[in-house]
């Protein structure tokens, strides 16, 4: 069950964020230059690439957050039912 959940998450991240190559190729050689020098060099175009990569990671985090929260609710409700039944049984 866990591995099918992992698979679903992987799938949603790929579908939701898109292929990194497609996302970053439009930056052309600026992307490679950012890799080599980093955004610390004060170049606004490198900072832009870096922000775009961060944004890509951020969108993956959001996908994870959404699926995680939803799974948490389902598990939580199930857990709560078990808890309530257990408390019932005890009393």
């Amino acid at each position: 069950m866990f591995s099918s959940w992992r698979r679903r998450l992987r799938h949603r991240v790929s579908a939701g964020c898109g292929d990194p190559a497609a996302r970053f190729a439009p930056y052309g050689h600026t992307f490679g230059e950012w890799l080599d020098t980093g955004a610390g060099s004060g170049r606004p175009d490198y900072a832009e690439v870096e922000s775009a990569v961060a944004e890509y990671l951020g969108s993956a985090a959001k996908v994870g957050q959404r699926l995680g929260a939803r799974t948490g609710v389902v598990l939580g409700v199930a857990g709560a039912a078990v808890t309530v039944l257990a408390v019932w049984g005890l009393s």
Binding site: R12, P20, G32, Y56
Partner: protein, 465 residues
């Protein structure tokens, strides 16, 4: 002295430096037959056809300096042939090396130190006699201490095939990385462009010296990293020729033949007797275009689309018309943002472009910088046009960004390879972050509900009491 019967040692030296190469026996590939049409040494009209058997192998340098070497061994049929070919190969090698002398710091370096635009080739005589190349480098088979010429006949290792030593010539060059060009690039590989700058300048320099390489194509361009950076380098110099006055025969590779030469040959099989210097320069520049396009659009695209039949007129190739090239590039990179780049790349294939290709003045460097300008115009569209990405995320993911860059920089790769590594690393980091975030929110919401239920149940229990 060669310690072993099968050892072959080459001594290269110049003022202040020496390389000592131990040549490895070649693999089991059969020798390749290569014919040269060489103008006779004594002058005169008729070309001399020289048939040779060529085998390839490698060598290791025992001294300091470039460690790995590429070795091409030619065996001729007669002494006269060997003598003519030796002078011919030497003339080619020294002419082509002059194309490297304009590179920054060339005067401080030995000829066997990078950077190069054209790989330096040294010719070595199989009979153990000294060879001097353009006064600066001497080459000799065997270390200087063993000079017993009489023994030389028996001294070539058996794997050379039992040929008389004086019929054998070796051409040695620093071994540089052969590049596996990517088959298809669905986004222009513009990260390659910077590494073409020296090669473009070298080609222009060669043409200013009125020489042409004549076999520029993706297989004959390697990549070399050195102290001051990296760049593409031309290899395989044995088709090179003086362009002005033009030769009366040409070696080259049919697939990469320049439109103008192809027309000349198709019109009249004897047409190549009417070569002009401009056609030779254009052949080199056309070859350079196929190499740059292999980097940007992919090798498969070049061999099958660019050099394949034009869908509108199958008697021509796509490469024979700027319109067809532009069309094909636009279809290959459908995003409209790339239009300026596609136009700059297609221009040399049209009639105006071909006039420039055949002109005697320099061309490659200017064209390449035009391509880089066009690429910058593509970047003027988005992604910069969209809203500026959220910068606070850079802090949130600072550690992940660092890891991605580290991962991509660790490989000894070329920049294009690093870029691909980084794309993969970004995809993996995204998955990891999503998983981390999912686990966090799953526990927060799950535990929250369970806790709430527990509190409610406890409250109900208390009230029930």
């Amino acid at each position: 002295m060669a310690e072993h019967d099968d050892d072959l040692v080459v001594d290269l030296s110049g003022p202040q430096w020496q390389a000592l190469l131990t040549v490895a026996p070649p693999g089991h590939e059969p020798p390749k037959t290569v014919d040269f049409d060489v103008p006779p040494t004594g002058g005169g009209q008729e070309l001399r056809r020289i048939g040779t058997q060529v085998v390839f192998t490698t060598a290791r340098n025992e001294r300091s300096g470039w460690p790995a070497w590429h070795v091409k061994i030619y065996t001729c049929a007669s002494l006269g042939d060997a003598e003519t070919l030796r002078q011919y190969l030497n003339a080619q090698a020294s002419a082509l090396q002059r194309a490297n002398t304009y590179l920054p710091g060339a005067a401080r370096r030995t000829p066997i130190e990078p950077p190069w635009a054209v790989v330096p080739v040294q010719v070595v005589r199989g009979d153990g006699r000294l060879e001097q190349l353009s006064g600066a480098v001497t080459t000799r088979l065997g270390v200087p201490s063993d000079q017993i010429v009489a023994q030389l006949e028996s001294r070539l290792p058996r794997w050379i095939g039992g040929a008389r030593p004086d019929l054998v010539l070796l051409a040695v060059s620093p071994q540089i990385e052969a590049l596996p060009w990517e088959p298809l690039r669905h986004w222009p590989g513009t990260e390659h462009l910077a590494d073409f700058a020296q090669l473009a300048a070298g080609i222009d320099q060669l043409h200013q010296l009125r020489w042409a390489h004549c076999d520029i194509k993706p297989e004959n361009v390697c990549w070399c990293a050195h102290q001051d950076g990296s760049g593409y380098v031309l290899i395989d110099t044995d088709a090179a020729t003086q362009a002005d006055p033009p030769p009366r025969a040409l070696r080259g590779t049919a697939l990469y033949e320049y439109t103008g030469l192809r027309a000349l040959r198709l019109d009249d099989p004897e047409g190549l007797r009417h070569l002009t210097p401009g056609l030779l320069y254009a052949q080199d520049r056309f070859g350079f275009l196929t190499v740059v396009l292999s980097a940007l659009a992919g090798r498969h695209w070049v061999d099958h689309t660019l050099l394949g039949p034009d869908p509108d007129d199958p008697s021509r190739r796509v490469a024979d018309s700027a319109e067809a090239v532009r069309h094909a590039l636009r279809a290959h990179w459908p995003d409209p943002r790339w239009a300026p780049l596609a136009d700059a790349l297609a221009h040399p294939f049209g009639p105006d472009g071909r006039i420039a290709l055949e002109a005697p003045g320099p061309w490659a460097e200017t064209w390449l910088s035009g391509v880089r300008d066009a690429e910058r115009r593509c970047a003027d569209g988005d992604p910069g046009d969209g809203p500026w990405p959220d910068e606070s995320l850079v802090h949130t993911f600072a550690r992940d960004l660092e890891r991605i860059r580290d991962h991509a920089l660790r490989g000894p790769a070329t920049r294009p390879e690093r870029v691909h590594l980084a794309y993969r690393a970004i995809g993996e980091a995204a998955q990891e972050i999503a998983l981390r975030r999912a686990a966090l929110w799953m526990s927060v919401s799950g535990l929250g509900i369970v806790l709430a239920a527990l509190v409610l149940a406890a409250a109900a229990f208390v009230i029930g009491e």
